[in-house]
Amino acid sequence: MKINDVITTANNNLFRNKTRTVLTTIAIVIGSITLLVAESVGNGFERYVSNNLETGSSQIFRLTKKGGDSYKYGEINKYKEESKEDVTQVFRSSDISYLKNTYPSIIKDVFFPQYLNLVYITRNDYEKFTGNVDIVYPSATAKLISGKLPEFNQILISDDYVQPLGFLNSDDAIGKVVTINVWNNKQQSAKEFPLVISGVTHKSESTYPLQVDYQTASYINRIVSPESVNPQSSNYLQIYTEKLSPQETTDFKEKLSNVGIEASSYEDDNKQIFQIVNILRSIMMGVAAISLAVATFGIVNTVLMGILERTKEIGLMKALGGSKKMIFQLFTFEAVCIGFWGYLISLILAIIIGLIINPIANSTFLKDINDFTLFVLTPFSAIKIFLIIMVVSFGASFFPSLKASKLNPIEALRSE
């Protein structure tokens, strides 16, 4: 039998017992729609997290001293009076030279964390706008609309600033000069710095809308607040390293740990958050897998019943020259066809669910969260789940079909 005849025959055979086919298809629709929903919601979370993560870098490490206040975002620490004990738990300038001298082949630069106290940003005669400035580190993985990461004397702006500052679009902004006005602690007045726009990013929940590189920040701070560039002491330090392999990273962290310094990269933080997203996704996929397992038994049952009902027909086909392979294909393709139609229906339903639920979610429980699409059905996910359903359908029908293919034609013809 030609393969196209096998497929059409298998598909037509589905219409012989419509009730059974419909019921099995419903089981598959339930199974695959659970998979599609789990995957899409997982995608939604993942996309949100990756869009909003701090521009992570594996080359920037945050150092804290063991026993000192380890830095965790949003954590409340008990206030400690400065005492002799604490002296060992903070970084001083001597630590910077120690690190630079001990690991010259690994460390490119060591610096105290920098902040810029922005008063406003403006351009030529346009209005002045407020904003917060983040420090972006070399080798960061930022999501850019256009341009590139800022270098010395450059600035990265979010797309929110494009029109207010009078640019036509993101591309138009690249290379143009803006002025930032930073509060000068020393003189208790603001000071202007011209910077060139290097790129434009998407607006994000967790990063500030303006970003400059750490050298620019140090340069500006040296003028406006020298004490922040070289403070007496600091609870933590940042280092910028060469590109390290995972093994080198582990070794380096261990060496630092031996001298009482804990190091964690921005990438480590991101990993943790992604881990949570992945756990969430796995739980949802687990639930989906259970419903798919139920559907699998539906397919096994359908194929077994089909074989039982059509034993005579199998015998006839074998008598008329039909091969084992052909019989096997007829029944496995029948299962695959059910899987295919079930998947197709659930894909359409999933698309509709997405179209309905996203606007509802955004106007209700996700109202206050920018940029969060709850239900993201990507082509990759759709194809992945399609393949899962096909493999499951085929697998479920494998042994019943194999059994059918081995039927003796005479006995099959004689069966009642």
């Binding site: 039998m1 025959t9 027909e313 006839l316 086909m317 008598a319 020259g321």
Partner: protein, 230 residues
């Protein structure tokens, strides 16, 4: 002068049901005969005599426990499963007492099933061949009817059409008139012997002596043995 050309040779064929150690039933016991190309042969016997088993072995649907079966001078036991399938599909046609038509398929679909299985013809070619054979058997007007809506005689004609559509050398007919009234039985007989006149070898399994007597050769089976060859 008819050219003698053995198409089927059975040599000492024995078929035992059950295992070698535990013989349950000896359906065929040392059966030998030759069927030539273009002959009409009746295998006669009572129910349980072993005649159906013999037909199944001749049609390569069953394997003899011992003995040799040559088809077109080739030993069937040396053929691969695939070759046997091709042989059944391309050289043999089957007419069954119970018809074995797929009840919900149309007449035409039933008739072209062997062509669909062998996978050589396109859909269009298959239908052309099916229509031609239905026309020949004078049942073309029923081609789009479901098989379950036909009378017994019509069903058997469809069954014969299905047997012939692949242009076989040998047609096996297992009690072809067994389920039919005498009027329809006669029509079917005429069709079958008409085929034989066109050169198709006809192997008829029956318990009906009258029908068997119309064949050129009769092989009478009793308790698995040939009791009479004519």
């Amino acid at each position: 002068m008819v050219k003698i050309n053995p198409i089927i040779e059975a040599k000492n064929i024995t078929r035992i049901y059950g295992s070698k150690d535990e013989e349950i039933c000896k359906a065929l016991d040392d059966v030998s005969f030759t069927i030539n190309k273009g002959e009409s042969v009746a295998i006669i016997g009572k129910s349980g005599s072993g005649k159906s088993t013999l037909m199944h072995i001749l049609a390569c649907l069953d394997k003899p426990t011992s003995g040799e079966l040559l088809i077109n001078k080739i030993d069937v036991s040396k053929m691969s499963e695939k070759q046997q399938e091709v042989l059944r599909g391309d050289c043999f046609g089957f007419v069954f007492q119970q018809f074995y038509l797929n009840p919900n398929d149309t007449v035409l679909e039933n008739v072209v099933l062997p062509l669909k299985i062998s996978g050589k013809d396109s859909r269009k070619n298959r239908e052309e061949k099916g229509i031609a054979i239905l026309k020949e058997l004078d049942i073309l007007n029923k081609k789009n009817n479901q098989a379950k809506n036909l009378s017994g005689g019509q069903k058997q004609r469809v069954c014969i059409a299905r047997a012939l559509v692949g242009d076989p050398q040998v047609v096996f007919a297992d009690e072809p008139t067994g389920n039919l009234d005498s009027a329809n039985g006669e029509i079917i007989e005429k069709i079958l012997f008409g085929l034989n006149k066109k050169g198709i070898t006809l192997i008829l399994v029956t318990h009906d002596y009258e029908l068997a007597s119309k064949c050129q050769k009769q092989i009478m089976i009793k308790d698995g043995k040939i009791v009479k060859k004519l």
